[in-house]
C-alpha cells in the first residue's frame, strides 16, 4: 500500500497537500542485503534510521494535517525498513518498497494528483543513501541499487529531474501545484571511483518539458552541502529529520499578524534559517559537521501553523554574578503581568534556564536591599523567540 493516506474524495475540488515520502534503510544489493551482492558497493552498507525517519515525517503529516496551509489530500509512503526498524514499528511493513519501478509509478501518480489546482501544495521527503556526480548534484539511491542491470546509477534518480518534472508545463501540467517543498535527507559526497567514468547516468523518473514559465515557490532543503555527508543516529533518526520536525513543531516559528492577534507559523524562509542551525548543532553535539543548504527559495509562504506560541528555552544571566544575592528577577509579559512562576532569589543555578511561550517580554531586576554597587534594571520589552534565547541582565551602575 503506497497511498498511505487519501482524502481526495472528501476534498473534492478543494486544493490539498500531496505528500511523497520515501525512506530506504534496507538496500537489497549492498552488503548485508537480501539480494545478489552489487558489483561495487562503493563502501556503502545497510542503514538503520532512514526508513524510520521517513515514517516519522509521515506521522507528523498525519498528526498536523489540520494545521497545514491546505488540507492534507494524499500521502504516498515508500519504505524499505531494516529488520530492526520493522520489528520496532511493524506499521512500516504496510507500505510498499522503494525500488525504481515503484518510485516511478508512485511519483507519476503523485504528480497527477498535484496537477489539478495551482493552489495545491506538494511535499517531497527522501531519506536514504545519496551520492553526487558533479557539483550541486544530488542523486538518490533506491532500494534496488546495485542490482547489476544497466549502469552503476541505473537504480538511482536525480533530484533535479524530479524537481524539473514537477514544474508547470503549458502542454501537460498547467495547473500543477505552485507551492512545492523538497527535503533531501541523504549524503552528497562523490566517490572517487565515479571519476573513472565519463558520465554516470541516473534513471529518469520522467521527461521534463522545456516550455513554460516556472513560477513555483519550490525550495529544496538538502540535508547537507555538496560534497559532504549527512548523518543519522544508528537505530534512531537522521539528524536532518530530527531537526526538521523540531523546526516544524515550533523551533522555526515566527508570529504573523492575523486580525490583531499573533498567529505562529513556520514558513519556507524561517525553516531555511533555523533548520541549518538546528542540524549544525545536532551534528556538533556528536563531534560531526553537517550543514543544511536550501535551493530555490522564492516568495515566502507558510508551511505549518501552530496552535499556540512555541516554547522558548530562555537562559538568564546576571551581570555581575556577585549581585545574585540581592537581585530579584521578574519576567513580565506584553501586558505587564508576571509571566509564569516567580523566579528564585538568588537565581540558582546561574545562568538560570526557564521555558516560556514565545512572545514579547520585559525582564526586570530589583536590588533588594539596595546596594551601592548595583542598580535596579527596569528592562525593556524585547522579543523572546524560539528555539532559544539568552538574556543578560546588567545591574552595574
Amino acid at each position: 500500500m503506497t497511498l498511505a493516506f487519501d482524502a481526495r474524495a472528501q476534498l473534492g475540488n478543494e486544493p490539498g497537500l500531496h505528500a511523497f515520502v520515501a525512506g530506504i534503510s534496507a538496500y537489497r544489493h549492498l552488503p548485508g542485503g537480501s539480494g545478489e551482492p552489487a558489483p561495487d558497493d562503493f563502501e556503502m552498507g545497510q542503514l538503520s534510521a532512514a526508513a524510520r525517519s521517513a515514517f516519522r515525517v509521515y506521522e507528523w503529516l498525519l498528526a498536523r494535517q489540520a494545521h497545514l496551509p491546505v488540507p492534507l489530500a494524499t500521502i504516498r509512503l515508500l519504505l524499505a525498513p531494516s529488520a530492526s526498524e520493522l520489528q520496532a514499528e511493524p506499521a512500516m511493513g504496510a507500505s510498499a518498497g522503494a525500488t525504481l519501478s515503484e518510485l516511478r509509478r508512485e511519483a507519476k501518480a503523485w504528480r497527477a494528483d498535484a496537477s489539478t489546482d495551482p493552489s495545491a501544495v506538494t511535499f517531497f521527503y527522501f531519506a536514504g543513501h545519496g551520492v553526487q556526480r558533479t557539483k550541486g548534484d544530488a542523486v538518490l539511491l533506491l532500494e534496488d541499487f546495485g542490482d547489476g542491470e544497466g549502469g552503476i546509477l541505473d537504480k538511482a534518480v536525480n533530484t533535479k529531474n524530479i524537481n524539473n518534472g514537477m514544474a508547470p508545463s503549458p502542454n501537460f501540467f498547467p495547473n500543477i501545484a505552485r507551492t512545492q517543498l523538497y527535503f533531501v535527507d541523504a549524503c552528497r559526497s562523490m566517490h572517487e571511483r565515479f571519476q573513472q567514468y565519463e558520465q554516470l547516468a541516473t534513471s529518469n523518473v520522467w521527461d521534463v518539458e522545456l516550455a513554460g514559465v516556472d513560477n513555483r515557490r519550490a525550495p529544496t532543503y538538502f540535508a547537507t552541502i555538496p560534497g559532504a555527508p549527512a548523518y543519522a543516529r544508528p537505530g534512531g533518526q537522521t539528524l536532518f529529520s530530527e531537526a526538521l520536525l523540531d523546526c516544524l513543531n515550533g523551533a522555526a516559528a515566527e508570529p504573523e499578524d492575523e486580525q490583531g492577534q499573533d498567529r505562529w507559523r513556520v514558513t519556507h524562509h524561517t525553516l531555511a534559517e533555523k533548520l541549518s542551525k538546528q542540524v549544525a548543532e545536532l551534528a556538533g553535539n556528536e563531534e560531526a559537521e553537517q550543514w543544511v543548504t536550501s535551493d530555490g527559495l522564492g516568495g515566502d509562504t507558510a508551511i505549518h501553523y501552530l496552535d499556540d506560541p512555541p516554547n522558548v528555552e530562555l537562559e538568564l544571566e546576571l551581570d555581575p554574578p556577585d549581585a545574585l544575592a540581592y537581585a530579584q528577577i521578574a519576567i513580565l509579559n506584553d501586558t505587564g503581568a508576571p509571566a509564569g512562576q516567580p523566579l528564585p532569589k538568588p537565581l540558582d543555578p546561574h545562568p538560570f534556564s526557564a521555558s516560556l511561550p514565545a512572545g514579547i517580554y520585559t525582564i526586570k531586576a530589583a536590588i533588594n536591599p539596595p546596594q551601592p554597587s548595583y542598580v535596579n534594571q527596569s528592562g525593556r520589552a524585547r522579543a523572546i523567540f524560539p528555539p532559544r534565547c539568552r538574556r543578560v541582565i546588567r545591574v552595574r551602575p
Binding site: 563502501e43 541523504a186 549524503c187 572517487e192 559532504a228 543516529r233 556528536e286 553537517q290
Partner: protein, 150 residues
C-alpha cells in the same frame, strides 16, 4: 582428605598434603612396605596361613594405594596446575599486548569525515589507500574486542 590451600606465584592456588595427613600417608606406605617384606619371607608357609595373609594383604593394599594416590596424585596435579599457570601467564601477557595493539588501531582509525564516529553516514563511507586499510584494521580490532566499540 586433609589438605590446605597454598597461594601460587600468580595468586592461583594448588592442593598439597600437609601435617597429619602427610604423616599418615607416609606411615601407611612404610607399614605396607614392611608387610610386603613380611609376605615375601613367608612365601613358603602352609596354604591356610598364606591364604589368610593374602586376605589381610588385600585389605592393607587398598589403604596403601589410597595413601600413595593421595601423596603422588597431588604432586602430579600440582605440577599440572603450575604448568597451566605458567601457560595462562603467557597467554594473559599476549592478550594484554593484543588488546593494546587493538586499542591503538582503533584510536588511529580515521573517523568519518567531520569526525562523526558515533553516527551513520547516508552515503559512501569511502576511504582510500592507507585510510581504508586503517579503517579495516580498526574494524577487525573492534570485532575481536567488542569493548573497544565504545
Amino acid at each position: 582428605m586433609a589438605a590446605n590451600q597454598q597461594a601460587g606465584a600468580g595468586g592461583d592456588s594448588t592442593t598439597r598434603l600437609s601435617g597429619w595427613a602427610l604423616l599418615a600417608a607416609f606411615v601407611v606406605l612404610v607399614a605396607f612396605a614392611v608387610f610386603v617384606v613380611y609376605m615375601i619371607r613367608h612365601v613358603s608357609t602352609d596354604e591356610v596361613k598364606w591364604t589368610r595373609l593374602g586376605w589381610l594383604f588385600a585389605s592393607v593394599e587398598a589403604i596403601a594405594f589410597g595413601a600413595a594416590g593421595a601423596l603422588f596424585g597431588t604432586s602430579i596435579q600440582r605440577a599440572r596446575a603450575e604448568n597451566a599457570e605458567a601457560e595462562a601467564r603467557k597467554n594473559a601477557d599476549a592478550a594484554a599486548k593484543g588488546r593494546a595493539l587493538a586499542s591503538t588501531l582503533v584510536a588511529d582509525a580515521p573517523g568519518s569525515p567531520g569526525g562523526a564516529a558515533r553516527l551513520e553516514a547516508l552515503g559512501s563511507e569511502q576511504r582510500s589507500g592507507e585510510a581504508a586499510v586503517a579503517a579495516r584494521h580498526a574494524s577487525v580490532a573492534r570485532d575481536l574486542f567488542p569493548e573497544l566499540r565504545q
